[in-house]
């Protein structure tokens, strides 16, 4: 693995390796000194063309726990071309000897442009690009689901996948990079996926996707999902005629208290409720659901750091070579120091 651009082109083996290494990284986070020397002397640049406090600090924490030097480069995101180009920015980072670039960009494909151009030699991690993908979000969601799935199945999480798990993703699929990355990764890991959205927020062309698509959330819940993932409704969609009003959206596609109760009615003891954050409480998810024992919201945030540590570690420590076995071994040695 040279870059982490999308989950669509991530093999099952690479995905499981990232999740397994993340499990080891998670153990580091539970120690008194939450730091490994693995990336000492390496430079990780957080290049953010779009505001995102949560993802940025998660990557920052991940890089720092691996002892990398972290530089944050926030370019005020604008859809109008002015100021420095992506090419000039990339070449500037190259001149500063960045080893990895974590890029968040409002334009779909910007990380792929960085990775495939000759502007920069660093490893590129996609931290969310436009409506395309957000692979580390999907990996942390899969990590969270795998721990849950392994626990109720009574097997160790390491090495396992999401076979026979049923996951329902609800909300604005059209504009969601989280939905796309999750769909591809969940399929790769053996889960079955149902998408629930208003018809206006399902992309034309999604009929070819490897999932079931329905417009009826209650019907989807009656189909007994093991996990329900609620997507954030972006403010700019609310007045763009995709649906009549936020109240109507909330009634039909929001995870409210009645639907929370319906999980019990359906006898779905182990079904979890996920949200990538930040949540619009009372809109796509009720406070009751967000704060219920079924909610994995905080676990997702916690796991985000572990997964991003794993991604940085695998891309940088084993640069240009096979990383699978040595990575784990080396880590164990460092742990024992």
């Amino acid at each position: 693995m040279r870059h982490l651009l999308s989950t669509r082109d991530l093999s099952r083996q690479d995905a499981i390796e990232i999740l397994d290494v993340a499990e080891e990284m998670s153990a580091v986070g539970e120690r008194e000194i939450k730091k490994l020397p693995a990336l000492r002397g390496r430079t990780v640049v957080n290049l953010f063309f779009e505001d995102s406090t949560r993802t940025r600090i998660s990557f920052e924490a991940a890089a720092k726990r691996l002892s990398a030097d972290v530089i944050t480069f926030a370019v005020k995101g604008s859809s109008v071309s002015k100021g420095e180009s992506l090419k000039d920015t990339a070449q500037t980072l190259e001149a500063m000897s960045a080893d990895a670039v974590v890029i968040r960009h409002w334009a779909s494909g910007a990380p792929a442009r960085l990775a495939t151009s000759d502007w920069i030699d660093a490893a590129v991690i996609n931290a969310g690009d436009g409506m395309h993908e957000h692979p580390t979000q999907a990996l942390l969601d899969a990590f969270t689901l795998r721990r849950h799935w392994a626990k109720i199945s009574g097997v160790p999480a390491i090495g396992s996948d999401l076979s026979s798990m049923a996951v329902t993703i609800v909300g604005d699929v059209l504009h969601s990079r989280v939905a796309r990355s999750n769909l591809w990764l969940l399929k790769t890991l053996g889960a079955s996926v149902t998408l629930v959205a208003p018809p206006t927020l399902v992309p034309v062309g999604a009929e070819a996707w490897p999932c079931r698509i329905t417009y009826d959330l209650d019907e989807a819940l009656a189909a007994r999902p093991d996990a329900v993932m609620m997507l954030r409704l972006q403010a700019e969609r609310m007045n763009a005629a995709f649906f009549p009003s936020t109240r109507e959206y909330s009634r039909r596609w929001g995870f409210d208290d009645a639907r929370l109760a319906a999980l019990d009615t359906h006898g779905l003891e182990h079904t979890v409720i996920m949200h990538p954050g930040p949540m619009n409480r009372g809109l796509e998810i009720s406070a009751g659901a967000a704060d219920s024992p079924r909610s994995t919201v905080l676990a997702q945030v916690r796991n985000g750091v572990s997964v991003r540590m794993a991604a940085l570690y695998l891309l940088l420590s084993g640069e240009h070579q096979a990383t699978s076995v040595p990575a784990t071994t080396q880590l164990t040695q460092e742990n024992s120091r």
């Binding site: 409002w106 334009a107 494909g109 495939t116 395309h132 990079r177 062309g205």
Partner: protein, 445 residues
């Protein structure tokens, strides 16, 4: 000029059929026959070459005036000559817009001074391409440039009343409105064809219906006011169906397809490489197949390059930031040979129809697209159909490096281009402009 004014082309296959000698003298085809004497003439051995009427492009962006960093009339027409063209129509979206007699005369004059091909300016339909007020179409028609084709290309004349008036008004000058069919509200922020690929890539879709709905409306308007309509760069199978229906009803509509829409599909966008960003966007394989069949059966009348050079910084960026457009003048012949002739859909006679005769007729160019017979203006292109070459944008005459065919091996090469009896291209290389170019002084002079 010291170059001899007489050329004997020995043994060219006329339109790919019978072989003959062509004697070119004093700007015309003086004689056609076999065993013609080469005395006093420069001999060109055309063994294995196909003789065609010089190519005519109805859709070229020469960028001058205003964006001389992208292309000039000089560089764009060099590229045209190299690609086998003897005439191009310069689109109106320059800066300032070609919406007055002054601007179209400037472009016309720059073309005469360059001397590589005949340059016919296209006039804007509306002032500043603004879509609200008709430009002075009559003044442009009566100008020295003699404009007959009017287009807001780059922008759709979306107001149905304005489109109706434009279609009606140009009847006074035997003009034609060339429509860029794109419903603006359906394509706000559009980045690529809307379909399976855009769904995965997360790029805002440019739906086929945004093109088809405008074409449907416009053919009905053209029928209603009994005028001529030309549809630029048709890109979808649905558009082909509508145009076929309109022609069957006797509506006077002509249609154009670009070489890139005959070959490339939206699968290429998966690379996010903006060299594939173009308007209308690359469509699906089914659309490509429908466009080829429509060009072969005459539903689509012509090939227009939509040659659109851009400076590199407008393509070396994020997809969403990149400019739309591809160069096309120097690859058009090869792409059409590859997609239409080598695929068995068309012969060289058909090739001459769609690249020369029909576009010359739509544009009202009397000296272009003529048969290879004695007495006609010597606008002739010699093609080596057996040649194969790898596209290298750095070796092109256009200033644009944005060729989607870079690195692709294509068949067919231009061996020579004769423009009004003068070889602008010889042995596959640019020669010299037409000697009369020097006679055109400054356009103000």
């Amino acid at each position: 000029m010291t170059a001899p004014a007489r050329y004997l082309i020995r043994g060219a296959a006329l339109l790919g059929r019978e072989r003959a000698d062509l004697l070119i003298a004093d700007g015309i085809i003086a004689e056609v026959g076999t065993g013609l004497s080469a005395a006093g003439a420069t001999l060109i051995d055309a063994d294995g070459l196909v003789a065609l009427p010089g190519l005519v492009d109805l859709h070229t962006h020469l960028r001058e005036p205003g964006r001389e960093d992208a292309e000039t009339v000089e560089t764009g027409t060099r590229a045209a000559a190299k690609g086998g063209f003897t005439a191009v129509h310069a689109m109106a979206n320059s800066t300032p817009v070609a919406d007055t007699a002054g601007v179209v005369e400037q472009v016309y004059s720059l073309g005469r001074r360059a001397g590589w091909v005949e340059v016919r300016p296209v006039g804007a339909v509306t002032v500043g391409l603004g879509g609200t007020q008709l430009a002075e179409i009559g003044a442009m028609a009566d100008s020295r440039a003699g404009v007959r084709v009017f287009s807001d290309d780059g922008v759709c004349v979306s107001d149905p009343v304005l489109m109706r008036r434009a279609l009606e008004y140009v009847k006074a000058f035997n003009g034609v409105i060339a429509q860029h069919a794109q419903e603006p509200r359906l394509t706000e922020g559009a980045q690529m064809n809307e379909g399976a690929v855009s769904a995965v890539l997360g790029l805002t879709g440019w739906p086929a219906v945004a093109e088809e709905s405008i074409i449907a409306r416009d053919v009905l308007l053209a029928h209603h006011v009994q005028s001529r309509l030309h549809v630029c760069h048709v890109s979808t199978a649905g558009s082909v169906d509508i145009i076929r229906w309109a022609k069957a009803r006797g509506i006077r509509v002509t249609a154009e397809v670009t070489p890139h829409h005959l070959l490339l599909t939206d699968e290429l966008v998966r690379s996010y490489n903006p060299v594939y960003k173009v308007n209308p966007p690359l469509r699906t394989g089914e659309d490509v197949q429908a466009l080829r069949e429509a060009l072969a059966d005459g539903t689509i009348d012509i090939v227009g390059t939509d040659h659109a050079p851009h400076p590199s910084e407008h393509k070396e960026c994020e997809w969403a930031q990149a400019a739309m457009g591809m160069t096309g003048l120097e690859t058009a012949l090869s792409v059409v040979q590859h997609t239409m002739i080598n695929s068995g859909l068309m012969d060289w006679e058909g090739f001459a129809r769609v690249t020369s005769r029909a576009p010359a007729a739509i544009g009202g160019l009397e000296q272009q697209g003529r048969p290879c017979v004695a007495g006609e203006a010597a606008n002739v292109t010699l093609v080596d159909p057996a040649a194969r070459w790898v596209v290298d944008p750095d070796k092109m005459a256009t200033m644009g490096r944005n060729s989607p065919f870079a690195g692709t091996e294509l068949p067919g090469a231009v061996h020579a281009t004769f423009f009004r009896g003068h070889p602008t291209v010889l042995d596959g290389r640019l020669n010299t402009p037409h000697p009369t170019a020097a006679e055109e002084s400054t356009w103000t002079g």
